[in-house]
Amino acid sequence: MAEMPFHDRVHLLTDQLGLPGVDVLGGLFDLTAHRLVRLAVAITRNQYDGEDAVQAVMTRIALRPEPLRGAQAPWAYLLRMVRNEALLIARKKKRWITTTHSITDLVTRRRVDELEQEDTHRAVWSALRTLPPAQAEVVVLKTWEGMTFAEIAELLDESPNTVASRYQYGLQKLADRLQKAAAEAMGERALRNVAPNRGAPRQGASNRGGHR
């Protein structure tokens, strides 16, 4: 099972969904939840809303697995379900969605060897959340799901040209925001390097005051 390609594993699990005595949902969740939540969070710009979308879809396919089982490409079908649910939630909560540069609500994971890159990851996700959902979903599907523009266009019911232009615009915006973030980070680092030199005498003075 470990050697099987991702799409085949999804297909295998969806074929077993709904069979009596077989609990496939847990396996399907373990296999797909990370990717689905990633897409849903990019669309809703909120961890809880994204998880709600994934939960709603997982619940629906567990109770009525026939449509997913009958789909020719179950993974694309699953992505489309999560995308539609996330858009629905985002539309409902439109008033409360605010574009924010903070990602404190996101559930993040970092490996030990990626500690140095965490700032970069945070900046990328922070910039991604500022994109419109239509561009963010294309960026996610293209970059992290490795789909072609034709596949994304079929999934989104759009033309490949529209999808490609959204991707280009999205990347351009991301580049602008990441450049700004990088500039700010460099400025902060420069300030931090300067600040200890300025603060040292003051600290010494306070220590002297403490001795009195």
Partner: protein, 170 residues
Amino acid sequence: MSYLPPEQLDAAGVQALLAAAGDYVGPSDDLRPRVIEEVRRLRSGGQRRWRLMLASGSALAAVVLVSVQASTMSQSLSEATPSQRVAEMVAHSEATRKSTGEGLWALVDAFFAVRNEQAEAFRPGSAATDSAASGSAASDAAATEAPLTDHSLGESSEADAQKPADSGSF
């Protein structure tokens, strides 16, 4: 942005950064049990709802059946004449008694004997009806003639009896 200078952030650089950040955000730890629990809850709720629907459907079918039967019975009773209604009721009670094994057959037999006599008596052209009719006709004729005779006789005899007296006395 600790290690990538801003001038390197072209399209390829952004794509590389995006690809590297793909696993940074994921589901929370409680999402899996939440999903499993929700599915379990909905499944059990669905079974309960199914049982409830089945029970209510059975009850509804029973009510419909009883009401249809009652309406059929009341229709047949309303269409029948009063004597037929009585006969049906008696037959029904007889059937009930037979089915329950109760006695009192003498009363039922007596009732049916009376009914048969009544039916025989009111049947057109039967002897009982003729005799009863002729008897009543004769009595009617006697009733129309005799009183007149008796009355005239009575009156005349009384008049005759009173005349000599009256005449004698006057």
